[in-house]
């Protein structure tokens, strides 16, 4: 131990350097990308996963997209780098949905690249679209930490994602959808996966009030901020007993208090699980952005592969894909056919649990324009 302390690593002796910011993006751009920056003329879908991009100058590049598990080993990242060096002059990028995109100039390298990635990394090529022909791949699922890292999850993230994507694999690698469909997952109501505006989302929900351990609260928690963290005002300070009291009727099991105060754990293996939401979107294309709507209030956790969740997602996706018109995302499809038909076609049950009773949002919000689409 002493010896080790003497042999300090250089990193341990350096003066902290702060606020220098991320690397400049320009040094990360492929020379052809840099040259044609802001001067792209058009793009064309080559095949699932591959897009050809043509610049005004006539230059051409190809982006080749692969699904990843998002949780990557640095050893995998190094393998990715090797491949990018071999095929892409050392340039690549990740997408906003956890996919990796290789940047190529030589079309002849595309197939070998795909083959090598599939073989070495097992990453499928796909996830793109051919808008002109209304042919869409499913893309990767935006997701969060779950049991891998977070302290508030009501479910795991990576495990459900893996199970769902295994089942929907062909939708990723082929153009099998009539329109864009985005699936997201967040492992608790904090919604780090931004499930509140996705075509299909899975969100972890607790269903039991936190168990208040008065001792632990006294020892470890700052009571005012714990009380303040509760969105529904279910918590009151109990100054005498130096703890908090909970109004069961007001609690909606969000776990916000638990984040502030480890003395009131929220998890409950038998009652934790996921809700399923659909019909959110954020693009302005055709139809304004929409918040997602709950269509399944709860499915219990069934690790390691959550078959009920997987089958429900698949059912929704396929019902939509079968019935939707071209370009019609779930929100637009339901808008056309009505929620009556959505429940009928998917076989999901509408219950009183699906009628909104969360009263914090003021109605004024309904009048605010949540879209950049308007007339001049």
């Amino acid at each position: 131990m002493v010896a080790q302390e003497v042999e300090k690593e250089p990193e341990e002796t350096l003066q902290p350097k702060t606020d220098f910011g991320p690397p400049h993006y320009e040094i990360m751009l492929h020379p052809v990308v840099k040259k044609n920056y802001g001067k792209w003329a058009y793009h064309e879908a080559v095949r699932p996963g591959v897009i050809k991009r043509v610049a005004e100058s006539g230059d051409v590049i190809y982006t080749v997209r692969f699904g990843t598990p998002r949780l990557l080993s640095i050893y995998t990242v190094r393998e990715i780098c090797e491949i990018a060096d071999k095929y892409c002059d050392g340039y690549l990028r990740f997408t906003s949905r956890h996919n990796v995109e290789f940047i190529l100039t030589d079309p002849d390298k595309i197939e070998p690249l795909i083959k090598e990635v599939q073989e070495k990394l097992g990453f499928p090529c796909g996830g793109t679209r051919d808008t002109t022909n209304a042919k869409y791949c499913l893309s990767n699922i935006i997701h969060t930490q779950g049991w891998v890292h977070c302290h508030t999850p009501a479910t795991d993230a990576s495990g459900i994602v893996k199970s769902v994507m295994d089942e929907l694999y062909d939708y990723f690698t082929d153009y099998k959808l009539p329109a864009q469909c985005r699936i997201s997952l967040a492992c608790c109501a904090n919604m780090c996966g931004a499930v509140h505006a996705s075509d299909i989302s899975i969100v972890g929900v607790h269903r039991k009030v936190p168990k208040i351990d008065d001792d632990a609260v006294r020892r470890t928690c700052e009571i005012p901020s714990t009380v303040a963290a509760c969105p529904t005002g279910a918590l009151k300070p109990d100054m005498k007993r130096k703890t908090v009291v909970l109004d069961k009727d007001k609690c909606m099991y969000c776990g916000n208090c638990y984040t502030m105060c480890p003395g009131m754990p929220i998890f409950d293996p038998d009652n934790d699980g996921v809700a399923i939401l659909v019909a959110g979107k954020v693009s302005d294309a055709r139809y304004p952005p929409q918040l997602s709507k709950v269509v399944v209030p709860w499915i219990g956790n069934n690790p390691p592969r959550w078959p009920e969740v997987v089958q429900t997602i698949k059912k929704i996706l396929e019902t939509w894909a079968t019935h939707a018109e071209k370009y019609e995302r779930i929100a637009e499809w339901v808008h056309r056919i009505g929620w009556e038909r959505f429940f009928e076609l998917t076989g999901l049950e509408f219950t009183e649990k699906l009628i909104d009773d969360y009263k914090r949002t003021p109605y004024i919000y309904a009048s605010y324009r949540t879209s950049a689409a308007f007339r001049w």
Binding site: E9, P22, T68, H149, D284, P304, Y368
Partner: protein
């Protein structure tokens, strides 16, 4: 105990199920890390946490068995000079799995648009192989590179390793991202780097905001978090409308540019009437088999026609962006898709105007905001009129889907 490549792995019957199936497996990634890191250590590499990935396998298997997380809240851990960027995390099975008793996350500010050279990526790998679990997320949901799992005492060396990566590793230096009640790491779609639809330079804007507001990004001092995201057009490929307090959505004001010859080419392969004309939300398009006409007064710039006919149609030339405010996830007042704060800012004024507004908003929010009140919720509480004064903007009908449905207007100026 299964042994792979000479490395002993814990029994993980449940997790093993998640190695099956065609989609790439995160379990494989963790196992691979466990194996490779131990091998590397054995091979003489300096590696501080060779057992971390293995520890994660253990804790995760238990979580799968118990159907609950085994992580505890982290408290405040940090690196010198910074208040955010690290998520403290401890395992509640300290005795059983000491390898991951500490398992803090470091958020690394990614390059705008998530573009990388292999050199830059390797820097991350090298640093994290040595100072952390070897596990990452590419990327976190806000956009950062997530370095998953290290001990408190390695946070600072790890940060130093990244900061001095050029000197130490011949690599590319990386700085830390946001967490806590600060500006979160801004993000941007690939924009002009690869996309012909970009109506402003998303990468530049994102980089500028990040650099100007390093202090706000690194030192939490606000009522809550604040997110900025830059999308080059209304397709919104970083979901800025839903996921950022301040969303910058590229758009244009004049006429869609049409190449009629290219339209006719498309007409040979697709049905313009069905794919384009009928799908225009405002019925602004007509097509007579020869010429595509767009009534630009009716067009709401939804992008659909351009998306379908990218060779033939282009956004207009008078470009800029719409600013939406208030987007966020659910608490306290419910999930919000941001709403229009400024209908249009021309491209050449965009970054400066945004900075002016951001600074004014932060000042106001800092003063008026309650603990854990996002800026959108503050606006609801205080009223749009006050907010408009803060950002020095006039009301515009484009800020709303419809005017108010009640005449309960506050005439404050008459009642001083």
């Amino acid at each position: 105990m299964p042994v792979v490549d000479g490395v002993e792995l814990p029994e993980t019957p449940l997790l093993d199920e998640l190695e099956k199936g065609p989609w790439p497996s995160f379990v494989k990634e963790i196992k691979k890390t466990a194996i490779e890191q131990e091998k590397a250590m054995k091979a003489g590499k300096k590696i501080k946490l060779p057992g971390a990935a293995k520890g994660l396998l253990k804790v995760l298997e238990l979580a799968y068995k118990d159907k609950r997380t085994h992580w505890k809240h982290g408290g405040i851990v940090s690196v010198i000079g910074y208040g955010g960027g690290v998520i403290g995390r401890y395992c509640d099975l300290e005795d059983q799995i000491p390898e991951v008793w500490h398992f803090h996350t470091i958020r690394i500010n990614m390059p705008a648009g998530w573009f990388y050279t292999t050199k830059a990526l390797r820097t991350i790998c090298d640093v994290w192989e040595k100072w952390g679990s070897g596990l990452t997320n590419f990327h976190g949901s806000t956009g950062d590179i997530i370095l998953l799992g290290t001990r408190t005492e390695y946070l600072q060396p790890c940060a130093n390793a990244l900061a001095y990566a050029d000197q130490l590793y011949g690599g590319v230096p990386f700085d830390i991202g946001g967490s806590g009640s600060d500006l979160r790491t801004p993000s941007a779609c690939m924009g002009p780097a690869l996309c012909e639809f970009a109506c402003y330079d998303t990468l530049k804007a994102c980089y500028e905001f990040t650099m100007r507001y390093q202090n706000e990004l690194h030192r939490p001092m606000w009522p809550y978090k604040f997110k900025i995201k830059c999308s080059g057009c209304p397709n919104d490929c970083v979901a800025a409308k839903a996921r950022s307090d301040f969303a910058i959505i590229g758009t244009w004001k004049d006429e869609i540019q049409i190449d009629q010859e290219a339209v006719r080419e498309y007409a040979k392969v697709i049905d313009i009437e069905e794919h384009v004309v009928k799908k225009c939300p405002t019925k602004a398009i007509s097509w007579d088999g020869k010429e595509l006409k767009i009534n630009n007064r009716e067009c709401i710039r939804c992008m659909h026609c351009i998306n379908v006919l990218p060779k033939a149609l282009k956004p207009g030339k008078e470009r800029g962006a719409t600013i939406l405010i208030g987007g966020k996830a659910p608490f306290v007042d419910g999930a919000i898709i941001g709403w229009v704060a400024v209908p249009f800012i021309p491209e050449n004024e965009l970054i400066e105007k945004c900075c002016e507004m951001l600074e004014a908003i932060w000042e106001w929010w800092d003063e008026e905001g309650k603990f854990r009140e996002r800026v959108g919720e503050l606006i609801w509480r205080k009223g749009m009129d006050e907010f408009l004064k803060v950002i020095n903007q006039k009301a515009d009908v484009r800020m709303v889907y419809a005017p108010r449905n009640n005449p309960f207007i506050f005439w404050r100026e008459l009642n001083e």
